[in-house]
Every structure is written in C-alpha cells, then in structure tokens.
Symmetry: D2
Subunit: 337 residues, 4 copies
Amino acid sequence: MSNINVGVVGYGYWGPNIVRNFFANAACTLKSVADGRQERLNLLAKIFPSINGVKDAEDVISSPDIDAVVIATPVFTHFGLAKRALQQGKHVLIEKPMTSSVAEADELIELAARKGLVLMADHTFLYTGAVQKMKEIIQTEVIGTPLYFDSARINLGLFQPDINVLWDLAPHDISILTYLITEEPESINATGISHTRNEVENIAYLTVNYSSDFIAHFNCSWSSPVKVRQTLIGGNKKMILYNDLEPSEKVRVYDTGYSHKTEEDKTRIMVDYRTGDVFIPKLSSREALAGVADDFIQSVLQKKDPLSNAQLGRSVVKILEASQLSIKQKGKEVRIK
Amino acid sequence: MSNINVGVVGYGYWGPNIVRNFFANAACTLKSVADGRQERLNLLAKIFPSINGVKDAEDVISSPDIDAVVIATPVFTHFGLAKRALQQGKHVLIEKPMTSSVAEADELIELAARKGLVLMADHTFLYTGAVQKMKEIIQTEVIGTPLYFDSARINLGLFQPDINVLWDLAPHDISILTYLITEEPESINATGISHTRNEVENIAYLTVNYSSDFIAHFNCSWSSPVKVRQTLIGGNKKMILYNDLEPSEKVRVYDTGYSHKTEEDKTRIMVDYRTGDVFIPKLSSREALAGVADDFIQSVLQKKDPLSNAQLGRSVVKILEASQLSIKQKGKEVRIK
Amino acid sequence: MSNINVGVVGYGYWGPNIVRNFFANAACTLKSVADGRQERLNLLAKIFPSINGVKDAEDVISSPDIDAVVIATPVFTHFGLAKRALQQGKHVLIEKPMTSSVAEADELIELAARKGLVLMADHTFLYTGAVQKMKEIIQTEVIGTPLYFDSARINLGLFQPDINVLWDLAPHDISILTYLITEEPESINATGISHTRNEVENIAYLTVNYSSDFIAHFNCSWSSPVKVRQTLIGGNKKMILYNDLEPSEKVRVYDTGYSHKTEEDKTRIMVDYRTGDVFIPKLSSREALAGVADDFIQSVLQKKDPLSNAQLGRSVVKILEASQLSIKQKGKEVRIK
Amino acid sequence: MSNINVGVVGYGYWGPNIVRNFFANAACTLKSVADGRQERLNLLAKIFPSINGVKDAEDVISSPDIDAVVIATPVFTHFGLAKRALQQGKHVLIEKPMTSSVAEADELIELAARKGLVLMADHTFLYTGAVQKMKEIIQTEVIGTPLYFDSARINLGLFQPDINVLWDLAPHDISILTYLITEEPESINATGISHTRNEVENIAYLTVNYSSDFIAHFNCSWSSPVKVRQTLIGGNKKMILYNDLEPSEKVRVYDTGYSHKTEEDKTRIMVDYRTGDVFIPKLSSREALAGVADDFIQSVLQKKDPLSNAQLGRSVVKILEASQLSIKQKGKEVRIK
C-alpha cells in the first residue's frame, strides 16, 4: 500500500481543517467526506470540488475504496462510528476526546489491536512547535525533576449543550500533561459550577494527584471576559511558562528554582530561591494538524504507533471521566490508577 | 479621648509600614514599638528616633500610656498577644490572618465585645482604590448578579516555615471575596502539595461553594517563576478583571455577559454571549495602609465598627481552617456554615 | 448598470485578498485576473476555478466585458496601467500608494474626472473598525482640538528592492492621518538610513508640520526585532492610543489632558495635567477589504465619491514624494502646500 | 585623604535621592546640604537630623570642611555653581544635563583639568544593571556591528518652564547612546512643537547622523497618555530591546538579523532575514545612584576618571545644543563634529 485513501466523517467546526490538511498530504488521497447537512456539503463542494461529499457516514466507513477514516463528529458518536470503521478494517483517527468513557476506549483499543489497525486520537497540540520544544526540554532534564503543571484555559463561550467545560477545553491540556510527564497519576479532584441550570458545568477546576510530590491543576471556563491559554511547568532546576496566545514567544524557560534543606536541629526547613536568565527558544511554525495527518498516514504505512496514540487518548478520557464523578461527589478524590 | 496613644508589637517585614503609617496619622501618637531583636530596634531608632523601642511586648501591652495596640507578629502569637491586650483594656488591630483558628477568633471577639473595645483585622487590600472601586461597582449592580470569583496569587518564595501558602497568600483574596460578596459560603474544597517534605504546602488550590450557583476559586503558589496577582469577577451583566500588578489600570470592567434559555422542546439550553466596550475607572491612589490606620483610630474615637472588622477577619480564618482540613482529607468537601 | 464586472491586475502578495473580497461581493462579478507568472495563475485556478486567469494585463484592461479594474501591481506600474484603464473607460481602484509621484496622480485624477469615472486608492485601513471609531471620536470632538499624531510601524523585513520603507509602510498611517485630521499640512522633514547600500532606506523618520501647533510623526522600519503598530493621537481634552496588534482592544481613549495658563506676572507658564478613566470601545470586526470592495462598487453604481478617494490618495503621495526629497537633502524642510 | 567630606547643593526633586545615597556610602561623609527653601531644609532635618542644612549654597561651596560638591539645582545654575566650587578646589558632580552649553562645559573641563579635580556628570542610567549589561553585550560583539539606536521616552507631564522636553528627557537616552556606541556622531536633525505658546517644546524628535550607516533617533514627549521607556538597538548579528518599565526583564536579546547581497547582474539587492531565540539576561538590581556615588568618591580617592565623566557629559550637551538650533531652523541638519 503506497498511497492511503482517506475518508472523513463530519464537516463541522474542525472538519474543514482536517480536510485541508489531509488534502495537502502527499502520501494520501482524500476521497470522500460525510456530513448529514446539505449546506456543509455545499461548502465542501465549493472549496474542494474534487472531493466526494456524501450524507451518510456509512458511505465512507463501508466504502471498499477507503483505507483510513477520520472521525470529526460530536463526542457521543465517536465510539459507534469508530467501532464500525475498525470492524470494516479501516484505520481510524478520532477527534479529541477520543470517546465518552474508558470502557468505550478499551473496546476500541482491543478491537484495533486484534485487527492490526492504527487507532489514533487527534490531540493536535502535541504536534505544535511549542509542545515539541517543551518535550525536548523536559526529556533532556533541563528543568530537572518536574514538580507541578498548572494550566488555565478560559474564554467567553462557546457553551456546549452536551459536554461540560472540562470535556471541551481540558483535553488539550491533559493531553499535553500526559505527553510531557511520564509518571502515571493516582487520583483526581474536581469542582465546578453550572450557570445554565442544565448540569453542564461552564466553570470547572481539576487537580490531578500523583504518588510523587508532583501535582497538576486545570482551570477551565467558558465564562471569562478575557482569553487565557497559559501553563506553568515547574521543575527543581528551571521552570517553563507556556503562553499559547503569544504570536511567537510561546515558551519561556526561567532559570528559576528553589531547594530546601533541614536545619541541623531538624526544627526548621530552609528554602533557597534562585532567579536567573530567561530563554525563549525559537519554535517550529509548521501547522500542527499537518503533523497529525502525517503521523497518522505514516503510522498506517509503516505499521508504527503514532505519537498521539490510543493509549494517550484513553488516559485523557480516564481523567475526564473521573473528573465528572468527582464534581458530582462534591470534589471527593477519585482514584484512577 | 481626643488623641490615641498607639503601641506596635512586632517590627519585622510588615512592621515598618505599620509604624510609618501610624506615625503619619494626625489623630494618634505612636508611642512605643516592641521587638525582641536588638537589630530591629536599632533600625527603628535610626529612622524614628522619637519612638520608644522596647524588647518585651508586655511593655507595650501593659503600659498605662497606651490606648491601642497593633499586633504585627507571626500568626501563632496573635491570639495570646491580642487576648492579653484586650484584657488590659486596649483596642486591638491584628495583622492578617487574625488568628490561627476560629475558636481563637471567637474568644477574642467575645472578649472585645464584653469590654467594649475595638477589635480589627488588618486586611489592607480592602482599603485600596481598586477594591473600593470594585465594591462600588458590585453594590450598584453594574455587573448584575455575581456568578464567580477566580483569583491567582502566585510568585517565587517567600516560603514560610510554619504556615502554608494558603494561610500566607490567600487571606488577601479571601478578604476581598468576603467584602465584595455578601452571600455566605457553604463549604470548601482544597488540594495542594508540599515540595519541602515538611507538610507545609507551597502550592494549593481552594474552591469555595455557595448555596446559590456562585463559586469562588483561589490559586496560590510560592513556586511560580512569574508573579501573578489577578482576579476575575463575573456577573450576569458585566465582568471585572482586577490585575493588581498594573501600575494604574488595575480594574477593567468588561461589558461582557451570557444568558441562557431553554428551547421550547426543553431538550436544549441555548446560550447567548455578548461582548462590548471595556471601561477602566480611575482609582484613588491613597496608600491602603493609611486607610487602615485611619479606620482603626476613627473606630476607637467614634466607637464605630471598622470596615475590616473582626467578623470579617473571623470569616477569613474560617475558610483557611477548613481548607487545611480539606487538604489533609484529600480534597473532601468541608462545610463551613 | 446593476452588476459590475470586475477585473484584477496582479495576483501577488495582496492580490488573493483583493480577489477573495471582490469574489464575495454580491454587487459585482469578478471576471478575470491577470498575472504574468504562470504559477500565480495556477494558484488562482486551484482556489477560484470560475475566474478567468490571463497573462496579459491588457486582456483585462481592454476587455469589453470589464467595467472596473483593480490594480494590485508594483508601485512603478500603477500609473501606466491605471491611465490605460481609464482611457478604456474603466473605473479604477489602485493599491496604495496610488502613484509614484504627484504629477502622475494629477494626470489620473484629471483623466478620471474628464471621463466621469471612479478613481479610488485602496487605503484599506480607513475601512477598519478601529479607524472608523477614531474618526467618529475625533469628529464628535471627544478629544477636543487635536494636538499631535505619533505613529510607529516597525517590524523585521520585508525589504522592498525599489521603494523605501516610507513608501512601503507609511502610506497606512499617512492615510489615517489624512482621513482623521482635516487641517492641511504645510511641510515635512524626513531622515533615514539605508543598510543595504542601494539608496533604499530601511529605517526612516518623518515629521509633518502644520500652520497650527499640530504635529505628526512617523517611525518606520524594516529592521526591528519586534513588530509594533502603534499610534498616539492627542487632543486637548482626551487622547487615543491605537494599537493595531491588540486582537480586539485596539482603540483606547484616555481621559487625559493638559492645559496651560500664563502666570499674572507673565514670566511663567503653568501647566495642569489631568488623568482619568480609560475607555475601550467595541469595534466592528468586519474585514476592512470587504468595505473597500463595497465602497468601490457602490461608488460606481451610485456615481458617488468613495471614502478613500483619489484626492486622499494624492495627499499621501504628496507627503511621500516630499519625504524622499527631504531625506536626500539631509532632513531639510520641504514645503507641500 | 581617606574619607571624603561631601556637600550637596539643591534638595528638590532629585536631591533626596542624592542625599540618601551619599549618606549610605561608607567612603564619604555627607556634611551639609544647601537649599534656599526653608520647607526643604525642614524635610531634610526630619529625615537626616545629623546633616547640616544651610540656605546659602556658598556655605557649602566655600566651606573648608568640604572636599566634594554635588550640584542638584536647575540646569541654568549648574555652570556658575560648578565653576565657583572648582575654583574653591572642590571636586564636582553635576546633575544631568551638565551645563546649558558646550562653551560652559568646556570652561569647566579646562578648569577641573588645570586644578587636578574630578568633574563628573550624573548620568545615572549608565550605572543601571540594564545599561551595564548592554555595554557588555555590545563590547563583546554579541550584536555584531551596531546599525541603529531608536528610543522613545514619553509620558504625561512634568512640563518644565525653562527647558524643553529634549533637555529634560533626552539626556538619559543620549548618555546611553554615547556610552554604548563609540563612533562619534556627525550631525543632527530635530523637529518639535510647543503646545504652551512659550517656545518650550513639549514634543520633540531628534535624529543623530554618523559617517557610517549607523543612525540614532529619539522620540520625547511630555504629552503622552501612556508612559513608554523603550529603546531598540540593532546590530547586524542580533538586536536588543530595552524596556525600562519591565520590573526585571528589561533587556531582551533577539537572535534576529538581516544581511544583503547584490545579485550577479547587479540590478537587485537580495536581503535575507533571520529570526531565532530570545535571551533575557538577569540584571544586577543594585540602585544605580549608589553606583554613581561610589564612582564619584572612588574617582576622587583614586584620582581616576569616572565612567560618567565630563567628556561624556559634554557630548550630551553638544547634541542638546545642536538640537535646539535645528528645531529653530525648521529641522535643518546641524553638524556637531
């Protein structure tokens, strides 16, 4: 198989970006796109007259012409579509979050493994220059032992009717956490509030606990007058500030740290601080989604595991699922290990 | 009594600011300052040769010359010193947080009431131009019904050996919350981590829950490479961004909001957003601590209740006490009503 | 004439934006686009298969099908192409700067007037929400009497081989100045430097002088490591800060001012300052170039004068021409009235 | 002479800072301060009871007890006071700008040389961590050949009655230019405007020209609603952004550059750009004025030339004097070499 035929299911908010990037990928051919809404198919036809637009997802999933399927539909439909596609022998890339539950994720993972198919979650942020640079910085121990991950992703709207703000916004940051920090989390606590009387939280806070003294925290809101996309990652040697709203200076590495020692008489802890230079590395400006498309296609061609693989997608779902449980239990700790 | 004689106990980090402001207040006379460390008394003598420096707090507290005592010592000493001063018939102003526990606060409040003395907590931020302006904005219903309060107060150091980061940093923001939002909180959840193996958290997160759908959240850290002092206060009409690091434009009022309605078939919630102008009011630039000194002295003179009164100080301690309990119980909800 | 047939000459850097906006304008039909480079025509065909791509500008300009021509080619070709189009009876919209000299501008203006054709310069910025809001603010005397206009437009690259940095970057700000400030300038001074040994300045400074005590200054550079797009407009009542790099808060109105009076003994001037609130108005987010296309087409249909008319285009060229002369004369004042 | 006795003339806006720093310097004794205004002497007595306050400058300048005099009075008085002090055999430190004219500066320099006395100008900024770091960066050729210096120093007020905005604000930036860039300037151009009808410009622009292709520009204003303190220094290898309003990250070094080559047929210049990492060095946070005091006292003790020496002070005055002439001649180039 030297050229992969790709079909896309869903041409909504994110679909056009998916289509544009797979269309531009030289190692595959984007054959068909399914969306139930005629106006979306019209839009597709206008921009990409060469692509076959169909109303029924089944016409993509079951087509013998198609080798690989990209699923970009609402979350609650991911599992059904992906399962059907895997059953038809298609490789599958699913929008984040991969599924609505860990059980669904497990079933898909097992099915893909059995059939020898690639199953991948589209955690686009992993393919950004910023996250790739941070991975390199952390892997080469520039920041030393990681101590915390603290993220804020807040803005006004777009309220989702079916999933809360954590399921909507946190997958980006949880996938980054999962990719950068190799230690497995132990438990989570989450709190939140719904201002729309529909049990769908529009503001939520999530703490992820570890058996080491690492901690992660996520602040997500659809109700902020200002847009913030900021993460702090502290190590015992250096610290990173990742501000995704900066046009080019997204990652700043602070030569800042603290260390502690117990005084001789053991009654006091002494803490030393250190501040130093700041370094802002140049980042690759390649479009992240082009990297996703390339990784998916190359994983199919080379029978390799993609970077944003199904296990990572499952880890994200596990934290989201637990967070929902914790909110309903008034912030109680939920173990996830 | 037309002129109040004031004594200060503690001339450490905050003491010089206390002394400078009471020294400058025309309605009182700063008579003596106690600190056990000779080098602090030497420093006092150099800057304020007219003030009597003493080593023993008792020489301030029990002096018949002194009408009112300001206590600016470590938190664990507040109760003992304040109780002794009240017993000696002195009016008392205590640094934030007022006491180490609600029980201590209650005992002081009862004692002060019985003796007809002013008991006040130094929540300096309430006297800033920014907080006064926000109070006015919220009281006149410019932002409509308050929906959330979200605060971050993070920086590098100064690790405290005996109190965690919430007891150190959060009193500022909790006092602002308590002052601005009249609804009483119902419960709290808190999580955190200690990186110094001494059970003193240097990073902590606190959610405060209410019976209405209002929510408050606090992010406190001694371990951030960057300094952040930022609070968002959302209402159903407008929203406030309060950035205390801005030299003059600390308060921004966004004409931003969202409203929701249930669709006729009741299956969906529709949410509308609105963004509009931003307004940055001019703020009073009077030093906040001068306002504290003035309110304390005038409360003594006029037998009135100060703005930063002991009840407010107690409310702050109640939340801090509960947060400590919640952290130890792995984030479990702790009721405070 | 109820629908205008439009042709575009030049499909380089700005051409695709021109084409996209005229293509989307319901009152006209974009018939053909000329560009001498086959790869540009291929790109056009890929995105807009319905538009006729031709190599020779003459096939657009002389086509009997075409009512109006948009010229988006290098500056030195504007005059020849526009003259030929006007001679063929076409309405003409020319990219900024309109021509290479005032003499050329005058000849085109005279020709268009004689033939009763619309001649318009594409000063896109006039159609932005920010400039429209500032026009409204200044026209309604919110800022009082304008006192100064101070603009910086600096970034790294794109060095032009044939025109200096003022001809490249300053037309935006000069057109804004000309649109906002109705007083006619008297003279200019300009200084600058070329770091490429080709007499094409990559850094230049321009002062525009008036018979009143208004002053304007422009700082333009292709050699800055940071991008700045900032203009201050001061009045005797209020002042405006216009930062085009802000995503939405581009215009800030400061209630700041100063007034002066002569002391009684006439020996001293006393100056009072005042600072107050800041107001950030919400701006229209309509794409400016859509407004340009609309104004051009409606001016043709309604035989009206567009906002960015040829006289304004000529005023910009007059200042640019004089600035070149001043730089060559080592900053000497050049009169332009 | 192992301890220098210092006297200060002038206890106005800057005087208290001078007094505080010389008071704290262990190698000298601050004996007396002269100011004609009793309320200033009262303020001095309150803060520094040990210093002798006198009304007549002559009591400082002619006192046999005094070895060195600091002159912190209005500019027009600098020459007379400094000349008298030098004649009395005192070492002299003069506030910036050193004198009102180059002729005055020359006379003082000649007199100090003849008498073997230290004559120094207080260009405080040279002693900041930021300027010291930039000197090191430029001296070690990190930025390569310097190409430009572009500075903006604007804010609201404080209008001076006797000197224009260049004499008031530009000395800081001109002294930094003179210190960092060793090439001597050839000529200047300046433009400006007075909004107070007293011939004292409150907005002014200054270009400094060199025989190489280096250029410097200064934008000074008392009439801006926002405060800006920003300088760009470009080299052919790297570029510096110096923002003095940043609390700690004042100096940013951009690995940004451009180079040019002539195409083979010599008809075109090709320019390449490069952008890379950004580096923010940690800066010394020592108070600059403490460095000034130390350098003055050590120069007296060690008979060495201070860093902010009289020649540098004279170079600043030369540019200011020429700028005044250029403004009056409508921006005409004024040679200064």
